[in-house]
């Protein structure tokens, strides 16, 4: 009898456990977007929206910053930002997407949209934008690349865009003080560069005049295009595995490593390596080691993000007062062309997608559109008018008292951004660089110099692909990347003679390089025809 009671009790408990489950109460409230606002704010009724984005450790996101309060005052939207540490953002985002539990607004990248766009998790935006997003529609009219973000002819994310600002790109940066000291002319072409670096090596035998960071492919992505071929590592430049867009060869995508021009690039690198001009650790330098070599005088030249020249020069001057690592104009390549990619103007991989389960989609789109309006973008970039900044005749100025407040922090600019809640790393789809420029005037002169260089080229976005094309690209890309990764360093370091390069080029082209280029070109043509 006792055993039976025992068993019955156990069953009852298990049943209760299995039956426990919460049901969401489905409340029907009138939508805030339905009636036009009469209170002067964007919405008459209060709405709460949850936003999820990553957080950089330099700029912790506050839950009750000035920007959030001001947004509430102006729009009646209570913004709840869920900030996930950047190091862990990918994992969390993937889980939430896979279980369809995303918040109202979530920061995603282009790959997420292309993988999950058609699955119905994200709100399709085109129709909503047409009806209730005048500001964003105006931006779409001026920036045609936005159309390339569409998946199956439907837009699923609002890209983070630059309202005011300039970008730089990879650029040649050299020790100008050493050139002056040894009476060497500033190199105007890659052949001259080789002569100059060789001379520097003779003068400083312990040095490795040229260095690179973040691996071989990254180094190739900076050098190949200016030198006449190309090797893209990001969707903004062509692809993530070596395809690149060439405006000088017919406005089409080419698989770099399979071409003769690329062979020349590798031959040059091999020569630089053999003669001790290229740092033998080029393939394994971390960003820290790379900056260490340049700031301690062991290397004199790099081809990378030219904004580093400023901080490196400051560092060098601690030991050598007149040192100068400065950017020089784009150099001529063997075909006589000067060319170099800018970075992308806008953040095409930081898109705000809206959950399809959100209670009032039209309101969310209207709110996102507000963030692209002058008033909304002003708040998200500068704060509260009069309290944090002034705007006289279109001239934006952050108040000196505000800048003063954060002057003693380790990083005054980001301390200000964090406290106010402004800036790219907070909730700011339409970014304005002026707060940054106000505190860093030196950067502005570099920007101007780079932007004035006629060799700089704006990159183009990848065209949109169909699901089949995406699958095929993934397949081919794995094969091609594996082969490439295994062999390329052998050629640069001389472990394999350049005479075998042609066979290698043939192999990667057959394994998928050619087919990838044709897929990209076909997709581009299809996109051009329909737009």
């Amino acid at each position: 009898m006792k055993k039976l009671m025992c068993a019955a009790l156990c069953c009852a408990i298990s049943m209760a456990a299995f039956a426990a489950g919460t049901k969401e109460a489905a409340g029907e409230t009138t939508k805030a977007s339905a009636a036009p606002s009469t209170s002067g704010k964007l919405f008459d009724k209060e709405i709460t929206l949850k936003v999820m984005r990553y957080e950089h450790p330099s700029q912790p996101i506050k839950v009750d910053s000035a920007v959030i309060r001001e947004i509430f005052n102006k729009t009646n939207v209570r913004l709840e930002i869920e900030a996930v540490p950047q190091a862990n953002y990918e994992d969390k985002k993937k889980i939430l997407i896979a279980t369809n539990n995303i918040p109202d607004i979530i920061l995603v990248n282009r790959q997420n949209l292309s993988d999950f766009g058609t699955s119905g998790i994200f709100l399709p935006l085109k129709e909503y934008i047409r009806k209730s997003a005048p500001n964003f529609s105006a931006i779409m009219a001026t920036e045609s690349e936005i159309k390339k973000l569409s998946v199956n002819n439907e837009l699923y994310g609002f890209p983070t865009m630059m309202r005011y600002g300039e970008v730089v790109g990879f650029g040649p940066v050299i020790r100008k003080d050493l050139l002056k000291k040894h009476n060497l002319a500033v190199p105007g072409s890659f052949t001259e560069l080789y002569t100059v670096l060789k001379k520097l090596k003779e003068l400083y035998p312990q040095s490795y005049p040229m260095t690179a960071r973040l691996g071989t492919k990254y180094m190739l992505s900076t050098l190949a295009y200016p030198m006449g071929s190309g090797f893209a590592l990001s969707q903004n430049m062509g692809s993530q595995f070596g395809l690149y867009f060439d405006k000088d060869a017919g406005n089409k995508y080419i698989y770099g490593p399979g071409t003769e021009e690329f062979k020349n690039v590798i031959t040059t690198l091999n020569m630089l390596f053999k003669e001790g001009i290229l740092d033998p650790d080029y393939a394994v330098n971390t960003a820290q080691q790379w900056s260490e070599k340049l700031t301690s005088g062991r290397s004199f030249f790099f081809y990378d993000n030219s904004s580093f020249s400023i901080s490196f020069t400051d560092n060098l001057r601690k030991a050598t007062p007149d040192a100068e690592l400065g950017v020089i104009p784009i150099m001529k390549n063997s075909q006589g062309i000067r060319r170099n990619f800018f970075y992308a103007m806008h953040w095409w991989d930081d898109l705000y997608a809206i959950s399809s389960k959100t209670k009032d989609p039209a309101a969310v789109v209207k709110f996102m559109d507000y963030m692209y309006s002058t008033e909304g973008a002003d708040i998200a970039n500068f704060g509260i008018l009069g309290e944090h900044y002034t705007k006289d005749n279109g001239e934006y100025k952050v108040l000196p008292s505000v800048i003063e407040k954060y002057a003693s922090a380790t990083s005054p600019l980001y301390a200000m951004y964090s406290d106010l809640g402004t800036g790219l790393l907070s909730f700011c789809p339409y970014e304005d660089e002026r707060p940054k420029y106000q505190q860093n005037p030196v950067n502005v002169s570099l920007m101007k110099a780079v932007n004035a260089d006629p060799g700089m080229v704006r990159p183009v976005l990848d065209p949109p692909f169909t699901n089949e094309e995406n699958a095929r690209i993934r397949e081919l890309r794995n094969k091609v990347e594996n082969t490439f990764n295994m062999e390329i360093d052998k050629f640069i370091m001389g472990a394999k003679p350049m005479s075998e390069y042609n066979a290698f080029a043939q192999k990667v082209r057959e394994q998928g390089g050619d087919e990838l280029a044709s897929i990209y070109n076909a997709a581009l043509e299809r996109f051009n025809k329909s737009n």
Binding site: T22, P57, P85, I95, N305, S307, A344
Partner: protein, 291 residues
């Protein structure tokens, strides 16, 4: 002891080898500590080996200045304490009945929990289950799904089995029911195994960051490991933000800073360990010998 202590060449040689091995084992920890209190520039130049140079606590200062840090430290202490308590309670309550031969559903419950040791639904079903129970964004999501670790439970069961039946039977004759036997006889006799389990579970909770990452949505609930991991890895993420990454205003994460972070996150466990160690004389091996 049958052996006499002798000092001869052979012993000296063995001692020498052991000292070398001990030094090799402890040097990395000393190195990390030394770097964390040394001057950043000397560290970058590679000049710090055995002893700290340019002693300053700037790295620790930066970490403690981080606003969320102290709160997340408190969170971790809370989760570890509550979690370990619940873990112990659940494990003991599950292990004791399984150790009694007269328990009716013994095979069934053993099989049920052993099954979970080999098979698991995976990440997404777990997330959905936790969501269904309404535990998302609460601290219970970190505690209940992992309340019983099968392996530790089996160790504990084996230990309980080694307590002689006669004691339990005599208590029963004196009028004690099962609960009283458990509380007044079994647990006092099981101090070694309980101490071991406390350490295992506490370390698990202290280090757990992935479940906190996916189940918690608010920064004020994050444990310290998430914040610290972000600080340590931050330097490697600069490449992804092209225009922002070269920003000279970013706080560059120097090596000594990372090491300060490591020290902060392991210090409590290191501090507690020596005190629990005295219980270990019988602790871990205890489940191995029956009867």
């Amino acid at each position: 002891m049958p052996w006499k202590k002798r000092f001869n060449g052979w012993n000296a040689f063995i001692s020498f080898i052991l000292i070398l091995l001990g030094a090799a084992a402890i040097y990395p920890m000393i190195y990390i500590f030394v770097i964390s209190i040394s001057d950043g520039n000397l560290v970058m130049a590679g000049k710090v080996f055995l002893y700290p140079r340019g002693i300053n606590f700037k790295a620790y200062q930066i970490v403690f200045e981080s606003p969320d840090f102290l709160r997340s430290y408190a969170n971790t202490l809370l989760y570890t304490f509550t979690g370990t308590l619940i873990n112990l309670g659940a494990t003991i309550l599950y292990a004791y009945p399984l150790s009694r031969r007269d328990f009716y559903g013994r095979t069934f419950f053993t099989a049920m929990i052993a099954f979970t040791m080999f098979f698991s639904g995976g990440l997404i079903p777990s997330y959905l289950v936790v969501k269904q129970f309404g535990l998302i964004n609460t601290m219970w999501a970190l505690i209940f799904p992992v309340a019983i670790n099968t392996w530790y439970m089996i160790i504990m069961r084996t230990f309980f089995q080694s307590i002689p039946d006669t004691i339990q039977e005599s208590a029963h004759i004196d009028g004690a029911n099962d609960l009283v036997i458990l509380l007044k006889i079994i647990i006092p006799l099981s101090v070694p195994i309980i101490a071991t389990m406390i350490l295992f579970y506490a370390v698990y909770h202290w280090n757990s960051f992935f479940s906190a990452l996916i189940y918690l949505n608010e920064k004020k609930k994050y444990p310290v490991q998430i914040i610290l991991r972000n600080i340590v890895i931050a330097g490697e993420l600069e490449r992804n933000n092209n225009s922002v990454g070269a920003d000279t205003n970013f706080i560059t994460v120097a090596t000594n800073f990372k090491y300060a972070v490591i020290i902060i996150s392991t210090l409590p466990i290191l501090a507690v360990y020596p005190f629990i160690q005295k219980y270990f004389t019988k602790g871990v091996m205890v489940g191995a010998i029956k009867g």
